[in-house]
């Protein structure tokens, strides 16, 4: 796996990794083992909100940001986590190549204070390439909790590079880090420019010898300069004995998932009602004002009932569950729970012929399928990466979750007892399980047919549990999500609302265009337990799934079934009056879970696979499953009802 040094390739790599900089500007690379808090260091320095999470492989493409220190500007490049420069998975290649060919002025190697021995190997490797290295021993607060003490001065003298102890989350040691960055960046010598690339071209046996020496030295340094308390080290082991045990691992995981949904449903109810009252009250007022001003009815309809109305639906119905679900999910991510999920489920993925880390890209899919598809880069084997990309859409994303949450809250809380809060949470958990089962089934079938092969090798690190940064998570995910959703809503929902309103109010013959279209799709919709309007809404939701529900409600209301939205219960009444049954609710949830990916995701798939064929597969496979599953449930329902 040595590097080719053909001059052509070298030149082109230099072009890719050359970062433009002006006077008084310096390029600083951030490298380190996966999951050492590089992104937290990056965020602290640059003030950017790069998503952080406690699992290896989160940063799959390098992020860039800047900060100022004493009149100079520093351009930070956050490189994907890497165990070694010798091995190269797709994301690790980025790190290696940047360190070889990038025009950086300093490299900050971020190391985990609680696992210094393992982290030092990379420090030694990078030190062979360049002299402009700073060792940033991060998570010193976690180390303190575990009674680990590190002799910074001793290490610095021994390694002969600046060593800084930091806790980037609280900002501890960050000034020292900036100072160290300044010192190293200013020290430009000619010999620094010549990187010792031959170091990466040794034969396998030599590399093995070097690694062995590196690790022996790392062990020696650890014995000398790091003091540990073995009792404290066993805390994680005790937690993991339960959380990843044969018996309780999977049940605990399902219970936690259910709990997250339960909190989301309970928490979303109130804000949803308040927002609805506010926004629809305003719509009423706006309509009055427009009428008072004598605005043309048609224009008023497009702007207020079409554009504003759809926006109001997105904000009041879709936003609250999102704003609650994602901080909760991020909490578990920060804690370090996701790799445990991958651990518990690996045997299933192995059987399906998929990669164990697919679990992690699926978890990213919960946030956004396009991000999940990019996240599949953590999977090395091209075959398994393709499987992960094609199936990622079977995890409900950000835009689809609220629909599932809202519908299960509306339709499955019917007993009038305490069960009302539990059944919806259970049904959402079930829906997610259906998605996971579909993922496994598709992976299995692909492995047996189009993408034949055996599961590739797999190593999974279970990072130490870390106390989540609750305040930051709540703040950033609510602000990020809110801004993100509102912008997307404005960009997609408003025009979609206008178009829907137009289609509902332009008549061809006796009926509006919308109704003609709905009638046309009605037989197909009926066959799978839906109706024509629902299919139209899903088609309209192609640019963004957030608008499926709002467009559907608009379409229904335009047919005359006008009811004021006051609570989740009135949503049920509106839908029931349009002919919905429990089957419709179930099938809309299933269809939303399984149907085609949104346009952004498809474009990302095209980019990531570089193939129209696989992009088409990623469209047609879920769509086929959605129709099939809904057809089956509808048929079964009709048989027993």
């Amino acid at each position: 796996m040595g590097l080719t040094t053909q001059s052509l390739r070298l030149e082109s790599l230099r072009d890719i990794y050359e970062i433009e900089k002006g006077d008084k500007q310096y390029v600083i690379a951030l490298a380190g083992n996966p999951n050492t808090g590089k992104s937290t260091v990056f965020n602290y320095l640059t003030g950017l909100a790069q998503h952080t999470g406690n699992w290896p492989g989160k940063t799959v493409a390098s992020a860039r940001g800047q900060f100022k220190y004493k009149n100079n500007e520093y351009i930070m490049v956050d490189l994907p986590g890497s165990y070694s420069l010798f091995t190269a998975s797709k994301d690790e290649e980025v790190t290696r190549d940047f360190l070889c060919y990038g025009n950086f002025d300093a490299v900050v190697v971020v190391a985990d204070a609680t696992c210094l021995e393992r982290n030092l190997n990379l420090v030694f490797q990078i030190s062979k390439l360049t002299k402009k290295v700073i060792l940033c021993i991060n998570l010193i607060d976690e180390a303190k909790k575990k009674n680990i003490t590190i002799d910074r001065q001793g290490l610095q003298n021994e390694l002969n590079i600046p060593v800084v102890l930091t806790a980037a989350r609280s900002g501890q040691g960050m000034n020292e880090l900036k100072k160290a960055i300044e010192n190293v960046s200013f020290k430009q010598t000619e010999s620094d420019e010549l990187k010792n690339l031959s170091y990466l071209q040794y034969e396998s046996e030599t590399r093995e010898k070097i690694t062995e020496q590196n690790y022996n030295y790392a062990n020696e340094l650890k014995q000398k300069y790091v003091k540990e308390d073995i009792n404290k080290l066993n805390r994680d082991k005790k937690i993991d004995d339960i959380v990843t045990s044969k018996k309780f691992g999977i049940p605990i995981m399902l219970a936690l998932l259910g709990l997250i949904f339960w909190i989301t449903i309970q928490g979303a109810n109130m804000p949803s009602q308040i927002l609805a009252e506010l926004l629809f009250g305003l719509q009423y007022k706006l309509n009055e004002i427009f009428i008072g001003l004598g605005v043309n009815d048609f224009l008023r309809g497009i702007v207020i009932d079409g554009m504003y109305g759809t926006l109001a639906w997105v904000v009041s119905v879709m936003l609250p569950p999102m704003a609650i679900f994602f901080p909760l999910f991020t909490l578990f991510e920060d804690l370090g729970y996701l790799p445990r999920v991958a651990f518990n489920l690996d045997h299933l993925f192995k059987k399906a012929g998929a990669h164990g880390k697919m679990c992690l890209s699926m978890c990213m899919g919960f946030g956004c399928n396009a991000a999940g598809v990019i996240g599949c880069r953590i999977i090395d084997s091209p075959r398994e990466r393709l499987i992960a990309i094609i199936t990622n859409n079977l995890v409900p994303c950000n835009g689809r979750f609220p629909l599932i949450i809202v519908l299960s809250a509306a339709f499955f809380a019917f007993t009038g007892s305490f069960l009302d809060s539990i059944i919806p949470a259970l049904s959402i958990t079930l829906i997610v399980l259906v998605g996971v089962s579909a993922t496994l089934a598709v992976s299995y079938l692909l492995t047996k047919t189009l993408l034949k092969g055996v599961p590739s090798t797999f190593t999974l690190e279970l990072p130490p549990y870390r106390a989540p940064q609750v305040g930051r998570i709540i703040y950033t995910s609510i602000i990020d999500r809110t801004v993100f959703v509102l912008l997307r809503a404005a960009a997609v929902a408003a025009p979609a609302g206008a178009v829907t309103w137009l289609l509902a109010n332009i008549y061809v013959g006796e009926l509006s265009i919308l109704i003609h279209a709905a009638n046309f799709l009605e037989p197909l919709g009926r066959a799978i337990g839906l109706d024509g309007f629902i299919l139209i809404a899903f088609i309209a939701g192609f640019p963004a799934n957030e608008i499926v529900m709002p467009v559907l409600l608009m379409a229904y209301m335009s047919t005359g079934a006008l009811t004021d939205y006051e609570s989740i219960d009135s949503l049920r009444q509106i839908l029931m009056s349009c002919g919905w049954t429990v089957l419709t609710a179930i099938n809309v949830m299933l269809f939303s879970l399984l149907h085609w990916p949104c346009s952004t995701t498809l474009l990302t798939i095209k980019k990531e696979t570089g193939s129209l064929k696989w992009t088409f597969a990623a469209f047609i496979i879920p769509t086929g499953i959605a129709f099939l599953v809904c057809f089956v449930t509808a048929s079964v329902y009709r048989l027993i009802w």
């Binding site: 021995e117 393992r118 045990s245 691992g249 690996d346």
Partner: protein, 72 residues
């Protein structure tokens, strides 16, 4: 003996890494070099994955992988 055959709770020393290509490099990167201490911590669901403490980190390996590590 192979690492896959070591019982839970035991600590062993790596003798040889007989994996090839990518896996071999990956093992080395994780610190599974000759002489490294490996503690067997736990087996996961279906005995599919085993958690090891390697160089202070917890690493899970499948049986298919851990059989390439010879230990003493």
């Amino acid at each position: 003996m192979k690492l896959v055959d070591v019982g839970v709770g035991k600590t062993v020393k790596v003798e040889r890494n007989s994996a090839h290509d990518y896996l071999k490099e990956r093992f080395l990167a994780l610190g599974l070099t000759k002489g490294a201490d490996v503690e067997v911590l736990r087996k996961g669901p279906k005995n599919n994955l085993t958690v090891y403490r390697i160089r202070g980190a917890m690493i899970a390996l499948r049986n298919e992988e851990s059989r390439f590590i010879e230990v003493l």
